[in-house]
Every structure is written in structure tokens, then in C-alpha cells.
Amino acid sequence: MQLKNNKKIPLVVSAAVTAIVSLSHAENSTDTIEINHEYYSESDDRIDVKYTMIDFKKDFGTDWSFAASFSVDEITGGTPIWDSISAPSPCTDESGNYVCDDPEQRPGNLIGSPQADLSDFTYRNIEMVDKRYAGNASLTYRTTPERNEWAIGFAYSEEDDFKSTELSAGYLHYLDEMKNSSLSFGVSKQKNESYFYFDEEWMDMDITSIEVAYTQIFTPKTLGKIAFFRTWQEGALTNPYQTVIRRVNITEDEQGAAPIYRYYRAREIRPDKKNISGIALSLISELHDDWKLHVGYRLYKDDWDILSHTLDFKAYYSVTENLTIVPNIRYYNQSRANFYKGHKENDFIFSEREGYATSDERLGDFDSLTYAVGVEYTISDKWDANIHIAKQKTSYDLKSYWISAGVKYAF
């Protein structure tokens, strides 16, 4: 990720963590290639994203399946951080070197010059550009005659300041002869590297995830799934671009000196470990020949004190044999991390030189509501097309929408 005009800048990037090792009850044996393009835009001149994704799936006989995906996302726009009015970020010269201060003389994570009051600080968008390339592939094997499934997956993605490599494996075991219930297990290990421009070095961040799921067919028209997941993150979890405001006693190192307080911009600091656990429920039912309803709920909890609930309702309404309308509504709510202070709050200042601190809105308490509608059209036996439009509003006044269109060819 980099600033326009090759200047490095504080920001946040987006990309997806989605499932490619997806084990399911249905074995769709058709080989397919699919391309989708998404355009995403936020209010207040914030982020715009163009995301293109190509998916390929090929079966080899009835026992082996191969799937691969390649995607590119291009991000432009602005992302908000605490900035200085007199010495605005990125505090870099034309070569991208950090020039605001001498790192050797800078206490802790403080940036720039001390200020006697807060008038020099502003929470505003910083322009940025970024491009991410990502690819993943998975191979699935089904045993005979049980049809249990083994899967392995590999994923790699690269940005200017972030690299990720992942290995994953999954196993699905049917619990009865009728194949009405199953247990699935998945595990993944991710090795990530983030570039910290302030320190001018790459730092490691590892993620280990496991998921255990139970799927049950209740009736010929209803099935459900319950999944338990745990994730362990360790390493450089701090966002290299996010900043906070700190109030520092600049005479505390001088014995007997009267305190003199000054305000600094400072890099955010997050703990280097995060342990996550959660549960996800899905229930799908055909209410009528033309209506299929999907209900989902996820409970998420981590040891940064973030607790979140996600409720998702989606319906597939078959207008004709070839045309389906897909309305979707999603509600999301989360509590704040225990080291978060929002920029709009009365107390947004962190008072220590060190210690965990963030003003990243995504670690604050907020809720969001997403409305979406999709249109899926079967053109012929071989061709399908879809268009989806979604609109989201968060309680911290960020509005966004995204629209996607895609075609799928079966062969």
C-alpha cells in the first residue's frame, strides 16, 4: 500500500478472508469458471475499491475436485487517522523516508513535535492507493463408499506492505448411512508479514484457526449447521498506519522537575496476541416452492473484550424458472476493544507514553445495518449471470454501498 505520488501513508487496506475449503453435503459435479467484478464506495470521500475475482472448479471423476481462485483489488480514496495540521502526514520525503523526527531521540511511539494544546491535531482522511493480488487453490478427495471428504488448501496474497501465505486442511465425516448428518473439521495456519514504515522493517504475524461444525438435515426441505471456531493471532497485530493522541509529562525523566504536559501524535499499539472464539448457526428452509429462506447468526468473542453479534436473513425468491430475486438484510453489533478511545469521545487522549492504544473505529463499539438485493438469471444450461447491490450504514455515520456483477460458465 502506498500514498499517491509514491508517498507512504497511514491507512487501512481491505481484502477478504473467505473460505475456499468449503465442505458441503451437496456434490455439484459441474465444472465451472466464473468471473465477478465488484465496485465498493464509502461516503465522506473515503475508500473506493474495484475487486475482480475469477473462480475455477473442476471435477476429476467422482472422487476428486479441484478449485482455484484469483483476485485483484485496487483501493483508492482516503482513510481517517489522527493527523497534524502543521506537519501533515505522511511525514515522509520524496524517497519515502520518515523525516518528522529522529527515531533515536523519539520517546516511545511518539510522532512529530510536542504541542501545548490540541489545536494542531485533526482526525481526517489521508489519501492512499493500494493493490492486492490474491490466489488460492484447494483439492478435495471423497472416499468410497462412505463419501467422506478430505480437503487441502493453499492461499497466497501480496500487497506493497503485506504478504500472506496459508495452508489449510479439512475433513468431513458423515455420521449416518443416509448422509443426513455430518461432522466437519478444519484447520489453517497463516504466516503473514507486515511492513512497518516507521521502523522500516517487516514484522511477522501468525494466525492459527480451527473450526468444528455439525450439519443436520431435518426434513427434505430444511437443514442446519452449527460451527464452533477458535483463532489464535500472534505477532505484529498493530496497524502500522493508525495513530492516537497522547498526553505526556515531558519532564518525568528529570528528578524533582515540575510536570510539563505536552500532546503528541503517536502510533497506535495493540497487544501482540489475540485469542478468538465463536459460534455460528445457519438454518436453511424451503418455505414454499418459490421461497427459500437462509437465517444465520454468529457470536464472536475475543480477549480484547470485543463481543459481536451478527444476524443475517436472506431469501431466494424464484420469479420464474430462470429468474431469482435475493433480498438480504444483515445486522451487526460489536463492543469496543479495552484499549480503544474514539476520536469523537470527550476523552480521546491516552495519557501514557506507552501502553495499548487505538482510535481505529473498527475496534470501537458500533452497529451496522446492511440491505442488499440480488438478481440471479439462468441464461442457458451453461450460462448464469448475477447482479447484487448492497448498502450499509454504521452507527459512526459511515455509509457505503457496493455493486457486483458476474457470469458463470459451466462445461
Binding site: A16, V17, Y51, N136, S168, G186, R298, Y300, T324, V326
Partner: protein, 76 residues
């Protein structure tokens, strides 16, 4: 807050488990035509799911529960 969440979770699991407790009549293979329909797949359209997750994971502190694998990003 946490107690309420726990109660809510227990309630949901109870609702989910109720049919199982009442006894489920096994569904035969030839009765699974509807279940095999592409619109009955958990998670819905996989491509649309990826696109939506692409947005949600970069804007929220939470993730997980939708399967294992798929790779990482510099989202948070």
C-alpha cells in the same frame, strides 16, 4: 452484557437442537432434490459470499465461522 449474550446463545442452540430432540425422520436419498438445489447451499452463492466477506472483514473487528482457509489480508 455477556450474560445476555450467553442466554441468547443458549436460546438459539435450543431452537436449533429442538428438532433433533423431538426425533428426526431420516430423509431418504430420493427426497433430497430440494436440498441439492443451488439456493439451498449453506452460505448461499459462494462468489457473492466472498464479495460480501471482502467488505465485512475489512470493516469489522470480527471474523470467522464461515469455513477454514481462503487466505489473509492486511485488513486490520
Amino acid at each position: 452484557m455477556h450474560n445476555r449474550a450467553l442466554q441468547f446463545m443458549v436460546f438459539l442452540i435450543s431452537v436449533f437442537a429442538l428438532p433433533a430432540c423431538m426425533g428426526i425422520t431420516p430423509v431418504k436419498a430420493w427426497e433430497k432434490d430440494t436440498l441439492g438445489h443451488k439456493h439451498m447451499q449453506i452460505g448461499g452463492n459462494p462468489s457473492i459470499k466472498k464479495i460480501n466477506e471482502h467488505v465485512y472483514t475489512s470493516k469489522e473487528a470480527s471474523s470467522g465461522g464461515g469455513g477454514i482457509g481462503g487466505g489473509g489480508c492486511g485488513c486490520n
